[in-house]
C-alpha cells in the first residue's frame, strides 16, 4: 500500500501577489504592491476590468500606472474621475506591456474612511467604490454609479409593517414625492406608499404595511423592489432605495432583518446582491 505523502511542498504560496489598498472618503483609491512585484523599467500597470455578464465578452478596462513610492513600494492611484461604471471590477497586474495579466489577491484594505460615508451629502451623479474580497479570494472593486440615490439609514421592523428612514443624495424631494414598490418579474404591479419628508428636502421616512403586499391572496414567493419618486411630475425617474454609502460591499448576509408572518406569508425586508432594498414574501 502506498503510504507516501502525495503532497508536494506548498510552492504555490506567493504565486499570487497581494495588493494593499487605501480608500479616501471622496472615492480615491491607492493600490500598493511590494517592490518585487514588477520591474520598474517594465512600466508595470494595474488593470481594472469590469466583470462581464456570463458568456459575454469583456468590454471595459481601466489602466493605472504603477510608480515607485519613497518606501520602494509600487503605487497606483485610481482618481475620483472618471467614475467607474456600475458593477464589479477585477484587479490585475500587468508587469510589462506584453506580459500576461496576473490576478491579485487582497492585502490590507484600509477602508476606515468609508465607514461613515452616509453622513456626507453626495452630489449627482453618486459614485461609490468599495474594494472587497471575491468569493474565490481575489481583490475586486464594487462600483455603483447612479444619477441619484436614496440611502437607507435604518429599518425598524414590527410584526406587521416596517418603517424605513432614508436620505436622498444627488437630488431632493419635491411636491408629490412618494415611495413605489414594484413587483419584480411581474406585469408591472406597483404599490404606492406615502412618505414623510423632513424640512431639509433630503431625509424622509415611510411605513410599508405588509398586508398591502399580500392583499390579493396569492402574494407568495414574490419580491418587491423599492424606489422613491422625488416629485409627482410625469417622467420623473424612480430613484432606487438602497444602502451603498459605507465600507460593506456585500450587505445581504450582514444586515439581516426579521420576517413577519402576514396573511400566511413570511414578509421580510432585505438587501439584494447589489445592496438595494427589497421586500420578500415567502
Amino acid at each position: 500500500m502506498n503510504t507516501k505523502p502525495d503532497t508536494r511542498p506548498d510552492t504555490t504560496r506567493g504565486a499570487h501577489l497581494r495588493v494593499d489598498c487605501t480608500a479616501d472618503a471622496d472615492g480615491r483609491i491607492v493600490f500598493g504592491l511590494p517592490a518585487t512585484a514588477a520591474d520598474e523599467a517594465g512600466s508595470p500597470r494595474l488593470l481594472l476590468r469590469l466583470r462581464p455578464k456570463k458568456g459575454q465578452p469583456e468590454k471595459t478596462v481601466h489602466l493605472l500606472e504603477l510608480r515607485p513610492a519613497h518606501d520602494g513600494r509600487l503605487l497606483a492611484v485610481l482618481e475620483q474621475q472618471p467614475a467607474l461604471a456600475e458593477g464589479r471590477w477585477d484587479v490585475y497586474l500587468l508587469a510589462e506591456p506584453d506580459a500576461p495579466r496576473q490576478r491579485l489577491r487582497p492585502g490590507l484594505r484600509d477602508l476606515r474612511a468609508l465607514v461613515d460615508g452616509h453622513t456626507r451629502d453626495r452630489p449627482s451623479p453618486v459614485a461609490v467604490r468599495v474594494p472587497y474580497v471575491t468569493k474565490d479570494g481575489y481583490l475586486a472593486v464594487r462600483a455603483w454609479l447612479r444619477t441619484e440615490h436614496a440611502e437607507v439609514e435604518g429599518i425598524d421592523v414590527t410584526d406587521r409593517s416596517m418603517t424605513v428612514r432614508a436620505r436622498l443624495h444627488g437630488t431632493s424631494l419635491a411636491e408629490g414625492a412618494a415611495v413605489r414598490l414594484r413587483l419584480r418579474g411581474g406585469d408591472g404591479t406597483v404599490r404606492i406608499v406615502e412618505l414623510r419628508g423632513e424640512s431639509d428636502g433630503r431625509a424622509f421616512s415611510f411605513v410599508v404595511d405588509y398586508a398591502e403586499l399580500v392583499a390579493d391572496g396569492n402574494g407568495r414567493d414574490r419580491v418587491w423592489d423599492l424606489s422613491v419618486r422625488v416629485s409627482s411630475g410625469e417622467g420623473t425617474p424612480p430613484v432606487r432605495i438602497g444602502r451603498l454609502l459605507d465600507d460593506v460591499a456585500d450587505r445581504k448576509e450582514v444586515f439581516v432583518y426579521p420576517a413577519a408572518v402576514v396573511g400566511g406569508g413570511a414578509v421580510r425586508p432585505y438587501f439584494t446582491v447589489d445592496n438595494d432594498l427589497s421586500v420578500e414574501v415567502k
Binding site: M1, T3, T7, D10, T12, G14, R18, R112
Partner: protein, 422 residues
C-alpha cells in the same frame, strides 16, 4: 539552526495558527524555519506566510480523505485529545516518518497530541519544545494523565500565560523539563493606528458558545439605544451564527449589531473601530485582545481565566469586568462610548502597553529557551533549574495525578456501561 513547527492545520483560521505563523516568521530572520501542517484542506493558507518560511503538509484531505489508513483510528495521537477524530493511522504514520527523518535541530509542537508525538518519536538529537495554547485546568482528566507521562520526555514546555505555567509546575511532576510562559506575539501593525473617532465596537473570534457573543450583543443593546449611531461588528463564523442572528433580530438590533463573517487578517477591521470587546467565559490567552491593543483600541474584556487579566490593566489600557456579567459589560462599554477623551487616552496607552507582545521580545525569549535546551541536551545536564521543597512538590503533583487517573478510570467505566446499554 533549523526550527520546525508541527501544526494541526496551517490552512484554517485561529489563534494557534496566527501565533505560530507570527513566531515562525520572526524566527526566520535568523534561522531556517519550516511549518509542517499535519492536515491540509485547501490550496492556500488564509494568512499570507513569509516566503522565508516553508510550508509542508503531511496529509492532503482534498484527495486523501478516503485513504484506507485514514479511516482507521490513530494509535500514537492520544485518544483523549480534542482533535482525536481528525487523526488516524495515516497521520500517525506521516508524523512519525516526518520526525524520524527530520534534519531540524528543534521541533516545536503546537497542541497536546502533537506534543505527545514529539515526546515519543523525535530522534535523540532533536530539541523538543511542546507548546500549550490551551490550559491544563481545562484539559479532561484522561488527557492530563496521558500528558503527565509523555511530557516528561520534552525539553521545554511553554504555556501562554503565567497562570497556566504555574498550574503545570504545581500539578504535573515534570523533572528536567523547563516550564515557562511564552506569550503569543502579534506583529507590528502596518496600518496607522485607530484614532478613536470611529463609532464602532469590534470583536473577533469563532462563533462558539465559550466566546459569549450572546452576552456581548445583549450588553450592546443599551449602547445602541442611547447612541444609535454606534455599531457592534462581530467577525468570525461558527455554529452559533443562527442563534446570534435570532438574538439580534429579537432585540431589534439588525442595523446596529452586525455579524460580519470571517476576516483575515483582522488589522484593517480593528482600525475601523475605537473599542474592542472580548466576552469569553474562558480565554487561554486572548490573541485578539493584543491585536486590538496594538492597533490602538482599548479592550473591554471579561476577567476570565487565564489571558485577559495578564494582558489588560483595568482602567488604564482597557476594562476588566466579571465573567458573564452583562450589566457590568454594558456599563463599561457605555463609559467608553460616552467619554471620547478617555477612550482615546486608553487607546493610546493600550498601544504602548501591548508592545511587550511584539515579535522582538517574544522571539528573544524563545531563542533563549531553545539555546538553553540545546546546550543542556549536548551536556546531558537537566534543563530545569533545581527546585526547593522537592519532596513536597512531588507529593502535591502525585495527588493530582492520582485524582486525574481516578477520574479517567471512572469516566472510562461509565463509557463501558453506556456501551453495554446500547
Amino acid at each position: 539552526m533549523k526550527i520546525s513547527f508541527l501544526l494541526h492545520n496551517a490552512y484554517g483560521i485561529g489563534g494557534t495558527i496566527t501565533t505560530t505563523f507570527n513566531l515562525a516568521q520572526a524566527l526566520a530572520e535568523r534561522h531556517e524555519v519550516e511549518i509542517v501542517s499535519v492536515l491540509r484542506h485547501r490550496e492556500h493558507p488564509n494568512f499570507a506566510l513569509d516566503p522565508r518560511v516553508s510550508l509542508q503538509p503531511l496529509v492532503d484531505l482534498r484527495h486523501e480523505k478516503e485513504h484506507p489508513l485514514h479511516l482507521r483510528p490513530a494509535r500514537v495521537f492520544p485518544a483523549a485529545e480534542y482533535r482525536y477524530r481528525q487523526y488516524s493511522e495515516l497521520t500517525d504514520q506521516r508524523i512519525g516518518e516526518f520526525l524520524a527523518a527530520t534534519d531540524a535541530d528543534v521541533v516545536i509542537g503546537t497542541r497536546p497530541g502533537l506534543n505527545v508525538h514529539l515526546a515519543l518519536q523525535a530522534p535523540e538529537h532533536v530539541v523538543r519544545v511542546g507548546q500549550e495554547h490551551l490550559t491544563l485546568d481545562n484539559h479532561p482528566p484522561r488527557l492530563r494523565t496521558t500528558l503527565r507521562r509523555a511530557y516528561r520526555r520534552l525539553d521545554v514546555l511553554t504555556t501562554v500565560t503565567e497562570a497556566d505555567a504555574a498550574a503545570y509546575r504545581r500539578k504535573m511532576r515534570l523533572p528536567g523539563v523547563r516550564v515557562e510562559a511564552l506569550p503569543n506575539s502579534v506583529p507590528d501593525p502596518v496600518l496607522p493606528a485607530a484614532d478613536g473617532t470611529a463609532k464602532i465596537v469590534v470583536a473577533a473570534g469563532r462563533l462558539v458558545p465559550v466566546k459569549r457573543y450572546d452576552l456581548l450583543i445583549e450588553a450592546f443593546a443599551p449602547v445602541a439605544a442611547e447612541h444609535p449611531d454606534w455599531q457592534l461588528r462581530i467577525y468570525g463564523k461558527g455554529d452559533e451564527q443562527t442563534r446570534l442572528r435570532e438574538l439580534i433580530q429579537r432585540l431589534g438590533l439588525s442595523d446596529n449589531a452586525l455579524l460580519m463573517g470571517a476576516a483575515a487578517p483582522m488589522e484593517a477591521e480593528w482600525v475601523k473601530g475605537s473599542i474592542a470587546a472580548c466576552t469569553s467565559n474562558f480565554e487561554p490567552f486572548g490573541m485578539t485582545i493584543v491585536e486590538a491593543m496594538r492597533c490602538g483600541l482599548p479592550v473591554v474584556s471579561t476577567d476570565c481565566p487565564h489571558g485577559p487579566g495578564e494582558i489588560i490593566e483595568d482602567g488604564v489600557d482597557g476594562r476588566l469586568v466579571p465573567v458573564g456579567d452583562r450589566d457590568a459589560l454594558g456599563a463599561a462599554l457605555l463609559d467608553l462610548v460616552r467619554d471620547d477623551e478617555r477612550r482615546r487616552r486608553m487607546g493610546r496607552t493600550a498601544m504602548e502597553n501591548a508592545r511587550r507582545f511584539a515579535p522582538a521580545p517574544v522571539v528573544e525569549q524563545a531563542e533563549r529557551l531553545i539555546d538553553d535546551a540545546r546546550s543542556a541536551r549536548r551536556t546531558g545536564r537537566p534543563l530545569a533549574p533545581p527546585e526547593g521543597h522537592r519532596i513536597q512538590r512531588a507529593l502535591v503533583s502525585q495527588g493530582f495525578a492520582v485524582r486525574d487517573a481516578a477520574y479517567a478510570v471512572a469516566s472510562g467505566a461509565l463509557r463501558t456501561v453506556r456501551r453495554g446499554r446500547r
